[in-house]
Amino acid sequence: MKLLLKSGIKTKLKRSVSSAAICVSMLLAQPLYASETASDLEFEASGNIALEQRYFFNEGLYSKQLSHNQSSVSVEAELYWQWNEGSDSVIFTPFYRVDSQDEQRTHGDIRELAYVHASDDWELRVGIRKEFWGVTEFQHLVDVINQTDGVEDFDGEDKLGQQMVNLSLVNDWGIVDVLLLPGFRERTYASQDGRLRGPLVVDENNVSYESSAGKQHLDLALRWSHSIGDFDVGAYWFHGTNREAYLTPALQPSNSNLAQYSLQQHYAQMDQLGVDVQATLGDWLWKFESIYRTTSFEDFVATQAGFEYSFIGVFDSNLDLGLLMEHSWDSRGEVELGEQGSLMQNDLFIGARLAFNDMQSSELLMGLGSDLDHNAFSFIIEANRRFGDNFIASVDIRLLQSNNKNDLLYSLSKDDHAQISLAWYF
């Protein structure tokens, strides 16, 4: 539920393109050569085009916000080359979305443009990539490598591609990943026309960095992960630019006489330790994530912990029912609107997932989040089903409520909406 959104996509895209171009020129020489000599170069193309329609039940809380309808279309393609029987590969995944209302949501990104070489006990991955860490469902606390593509969706699960050099070493005692991350991506935020944002718009042109290297700071991460019997464990250290900006109100330079405030983004340096554990015990999945983060402004600990229990074949049918419960805790405690901190300082989440296991892969997901410190909750329903062989239709309903004007969620309390999407996969 990390919200409050907007940014500078054109410059970002340009930057990814230039760094991407370097990768490509570096790599393309190889596959071409391989195809001439070994002729085992394989190519695959796939992707999807999705239409999405959102309907907000109420007028926005803030002036200039779109009133009810928001339409958009997105395209994501995946081009994949491999040679040496898959030991070497290049993947290219461009993405673009056009939005009818929110200019910041009309944006493009190179999700992936990377070369991977796999050997028996090590792998080298170079380029723009996506790397996910973690085990929990309602919040991805330890997931730190990629910046959130905030305009995409409300759940923060969409990520921007991150430039990296990743050496992965496979040992009997676990996998060690060394990541060098040159170049930082700023988070994307909704424009003033957009919904699902706070009272002030985040200014994409007013960005500062703690590091004198700015967005060129070379970030570093070191992670160990292993499966030990029923336990899957991971631990890491991250040193570099905090993916979450500190947002402070600032007077926006304006041509008119009207003084306007917007939020300035400040990206601090941070050190973060993260741990994730999952115990898979029969029908029970026990999940735990924790981070310790230290910046020049604050030190804190946060955790996300819970379980998932599965009933196989309920009601004497093929239906599977999964029940989920997770709790979020943050040592910074409750935050007032306009202050730094987490929305999830003492929140409880419960969810149910119903998989129909039919030919159409029909699925229903429900989730309820509740802030235990004050009266605020969120409710989501997601349903999806395949039509024909290549279409997926989904319906999402999200309800957000808060009575406390000082609560961050209050700024979204008029943003209840339904979303219908139809995606064609090719």
């Binding site: 028996d120 898979t280 029969g282 599965s310 196989i312 296991n357 290549n390 996969y425």
Partner: protein, 266 residues
């Protein structure tokens, strides 16, 4: 090493059967059922690793069809269950999804799923044996490798089927999470190849019938059916499996079956 594994599995199977029978001694029918199953397993040992493509044709009662396309890689593990990697290609919305499984004859299997949209590797519960595989009439347990220890046995006699003489053996799943009370298996007496299986649900009524056809022999030893047809006798749905591009001893090793290889599986 090979004979060691045969011996081990035979002993393990025997021990298990002995333990699970309170009377300790096996009846003649139980012993013969076990012997046939050990022999069938023995004839299929030593393939080391394999690769194959599987095409699934799902058909409902109204005749509507849907296709699933999957690539499979397997590694034979001495004194334990096999390792396998399943890579989904069709339907297109699940393309890139991959499933890694370390099966174990007695303790629970270890399973991971790679979800390409989030680039997320998820450890999943291996309890779901009875659930349908990709909406088909095959349950997960129908597609897992045969291990002697997974059942207790009873020999039912000989029967003619498709012009072949068959052993008819009843198998009782040891795992309480199995969706079946029993299976009746027909194996031809000449090559010990499974020709047909009847599955009985938890209420002990006939649920599904699986028939094997177009057997081909690989490396002058290993028999694989190119076609398997599962018919659900209760709801009229069916699923046909067509196997192609079988390859054995391709040089796969442990390093092709870990989290890293799961993430880049194609």
């Amino acid at each position: 090493m090979l004979t060691q594994k045969i011996l081990m599995s035979a002993i393990a199977g025997l021990c298990f059967t002995l333990v699970s029978n309170s009377s300790a001694a096996l009846t003649i029918e139980q012993q013969k059922g076990l012997d046939i199953s050990i022999e069938a397993k023995k004839r299929d040992l030593g393939w080391q690793d394999s690769m194959s493509d599987m095409l699934m044709l799902l058909r409902n009662k109204q005749g509507q069809e849907s296709i699933r396309e999957v690539k499979m890689k397997s590694l034979e593990v001495l004194n334990d269950g096999d390792k396998s990697l399943t890579i989904f290609n069709q339907p297109r919305d699940v393309k890139g999804t991959a499933f890694l499984s370390f099966s174990h004859p007695v303790v629970s299997d270890e399973q991971w799923l790679f979800l390409p949209a989030l680039k997320r590797v998820k450890r999943i519960s291996s309890r779901n044996k009875s659930g349908p595989f990709m909406g088909s009439e095959f349950a997960f347990e129908d597609l897992s490798s045969f291990e002697v220890e997974k059942y207790t046995y009873k020999y039912l006699g000989e029967e003619e089927l498709n012009g072949l003489t068959n052993f008819k053996v009843e198998q009782y799943p040891v795992d309480e999470n199995s969706g079946y009370t029993r299976r009746i298996v027909w194996l031809d007496t000449k090559e010990y190849r499974v020709q047909k299986i009847d599955f009985y649900d938890r209420k002990d009524s006939l649920l599904k019938t699986l028939t094997f056809s177009d057997y081909k022999q690989y490396l002058a030893k290993y028999w694989r059916a190119d076609k398997q047809e599962m018919v659900n006798q209760q709801n009229g749905k069916s699923t046909v499996l067509k196997w192609s591009n079988y390859a054995f001893k391709t040089g796969l090793s442990d390093s092709d079956f870990n989290r890293n290889s799961l993430k880049r599986a194609r």
